[in-house]
């Protein structure tokens, strides 16, 4: 196998409510791989299972069957505690809604993922200042997030995803709630990250996203099955 391969998903299925009348299989025998530095898009209509698949790849939940090899380690069978640890070190997430916590400041929102890691205060603040600088949020550092504009909130969400220095950035329908101008801004930021060597996986059905040139590979997801395009 190619040593560049960061994630390899092998015949992974996920089932909810198994054995009950409402049993569903949002992901069936999906296989795909992601190489280091690539931008990979999971494309499909809503309800196709791409979000579940993204969650599986990002160690949010465990597959019912199949293997997920992350940096050479099979993570499919790991219990939650260790899955979380791996997720914390490897992935940054950007969600469809920004999912920021209202009532606390921009800085705190960005720092949240680091709280359970026990990192020292000095390191934390160093990193958060640097990120806010890059994403031009410094002037908003102490503001509560809910008074920020949509674009700024989006940038806070990105900063939060990057605070733990992830290898891979996962984005779930990142443009769903953005107008085209903000969407373009976002893609610009992602492009910038790619140029710095970040691996990015995006689940989307927005042509604006999967038709940009920075996308290396597109997987089409339909009824839980994955096909490379």
């Amino acid at each position: 196998m190619n040593s560049d391969i960061l994630i390899s998903v092998q015949k992974v299925s996920k089932c909810f409510n198994r054995g009950r009348p409402n049993e569903i299989w949002p992901v069936r025998e999906a296989s795909l791989y992601v190489k280091k530095g690539e931008v990979v898009v999971l494309k499909g209509p809503s309800g196709s299972g791409k979000t579940t698949l993204l969650g599986l790849i990002g160690c949010m939940s465990r597959p019912t069957s199949g293997r997920i090899i992350l940096k050479g380690q099979d993570v499919a069978k790991l219990p939650e505690r260790f899955l979380t640890e791996i997720r914390r070190k490897t992935f940054g997430f950007i969600f469809q809604q920004f999912n920021l916590i209202k009532g606390i400041s921009v800085r705190e929102n960005i720092l949240l993922p680091l709280y359970p890691t026990g990192m020292s205060f000095g390191q934390m603040s160093e990193r958060v200042e640097e990120l806010m600088e890059t994403l031009s949020l410094s002037h908003r550092a102490g503001f509560p997030v809910e008074i920020l504009s949509g674009g700024e909130q989006q940038r806070v969400a990105i900063a939060r995803a990057l605070i733990n220095n992830p290898d891979i950035l996962m984005a779930d329908e990142p443009t769903a709630h953005l107008d085209s101008k903000l969407s373009m801004n976002l893609l610009e930021t992602l492009g910038l990250l790619k140029s710095r060597g970040m691996t990015i996986v995006i689940a989307t059905h927005d042509p604006l996203v999967f038709e940009t040139e920075m996308v290396d590979r597109v997987y089409e997801v339909r009824d839980g099955r994955v096909r490379e395009r």
Partner: protein, 387 residues
């Protein structure tokens, strides 16, 4: 360590973000703690006060029993008891109760005892040995009769005549538990007031040299004078002790129901996670918090609420009992005596009461929050993605 600090910080900010809800819990928790702490402090303080008083009382008191009731004791018993080995001084005491029809109260009247000394607890002057026509009164008596030093106290003697006594001194409020209903008068006035028969006393106090011999000597007195009842100091202490424990326990049992109500409230508040809170925990899980991290967060939230309410409750109870003399309990306590002292209790608080308090407030509260916290903590990390 840093991890706990950061999570604690976040816990506090979460609590502040939901001020109203948490304020409701804290105020109920504080009230429950305050009420229970007041009960404990009050009874404990009474107990201590009583113990202190009894510490100064004689080792052994000998009463005479006639037809199963306390009767006057002949002074001839004094010498009989003095003859027992190990017995020091034996003294007669003259005291009785006077029902005052004017105020409906019972006064404790004591004949001016030998060897009384000027103490800090009395205002005014002490009379000489052969004076009569005076009295020293407790502050409860003074208040009931609106008396000041120099005024006259009028009592009705056994034949219905008026006995007028000049107030020479009033006991200070600080000694109220002991002296509230006290009237001290001279022997001749005492004899006249009650028509006391010659050669008799109310009871005898016996000094015993060796404290371990008290039981022994009590037994010998009983053998020598079968119509007497020797009462040892430790017996009195025990009675007091169990009385106060019982009172405290009864009140506490009554308040167990209020604790229960509080636990139900806590449960309700904690299980009924608002959509917003659920969302927040979902976010935390999604961005890399682990179940045990959320549990830690919930632990710190609960601990902060408990600590704040517990300490505030204790402090309020302290102020309530020792600065405001437990005003809230007055109706319940009034029944103890007509002349209820409006005393200022001396503060006695020890670690033990705090332990008890902790056990009946924090433990049930914590127990009621464990399962709801866990339910919140196991939220799926991908729940926010499923929206």
């Amino acid at each position: 360590m840093i991890k706990h600090l950061k999570i604690l910080e976040f816990a506090l900010s979460s609590l502040l973000r939901r001020k109203l809800k948490n304020l409701a819990i804290v105020s109920v928790f504080t009230t429950v703690t305050m009420v229970i702490a007041s009960i404990l402090f009050l009874t404990h303080s009474f107990k201590k006060e009583a113990l202190l008083i009894l510490q100064g009382s004689p080792e052994l008191i000998v009463q005479r029993i006639q037809a199963g009731r306390h009767a006057l004791i002949p002074l001839s018993y004094v010498d009989a008891i003095k003859g027992l080995p190990g017995v020091g001084d034996v003294r007669p005491r003259y005291w009785g109760y006077y029902y005052d029809p004017l105020t409906g109260a019972n006064f404790t009247v004591i004949a001016y005892p030998e060897g009384i000394r000027k103490t800090e607890i009395i205002e005014g002057s002490l009379p000489g040995a052969n004076e009569h026509g005076y009295c020293l009164i407790g502050s409860g008596v003074a208040d009931a009769r609106f008396l000041q030093i120099g005024d006259e106290l009028f009592l009705q003697d056994i034949k219905g005549r008026v006995l007028s006594l000049k107030v020479r001194g009033i006991f200070k409020k600080s000694s109220q538990i002991l002296t509230n209903d006290l009237v001290i008068i001279s022997r001749p006035d005492f004899d006249r007031l009650f028509g006391f028969p010659e050669g008799h006393a109310t009871d005898l106090t016996v000094q015993v040299y060796n404290p371990t011999e008290i039981q022994n000597i009590a037994g010998k007195v009983k053998k020598l004078l079968p119509d007497t009842r020797p009462i040892t100091r430790s017996e009195i202490l025990r009675t007091y002790d169990s009385l106060f424990n019982w009172r405290g326990g009864m009140l506490l049992a009554l308040f167990a129901s209020s604790v229960l109500a509080f636990v139900i409230l806590a449960w309700d508040k904690a299980t009924g996670l608002s959509a917003e809170e659920r969302q927040e925990i979902g976010i935390l899980k999604a961005i890399g918090w682990e179940t045990s991290d959320v549990l830690t967060l919930k632990f710190w939230e609960g601990a902060s609420i408990s600590l704040i309410s517990f300490l505030t409750g204790i402090i309020l109870a302290y102020i309530h009992v020792f600065y405001f003399s437990a005003v809230l309990f007055e109706p319940a306590l009034k029944g103890w005596s007509v002349l209820f002292p409006d005393f200022r209790l001396r503060p006695y608080v020890d670690l033990y009461q705090c332990f008890v308090l902790f056990m009946v407030t924090v433990v049930p509260y914590t127990a009621s929050t464990i399962i709801p916290s866990w339910k919140a903590a196991i939220t799926d990390p991908d729940s926010v993605m499923r929206g």
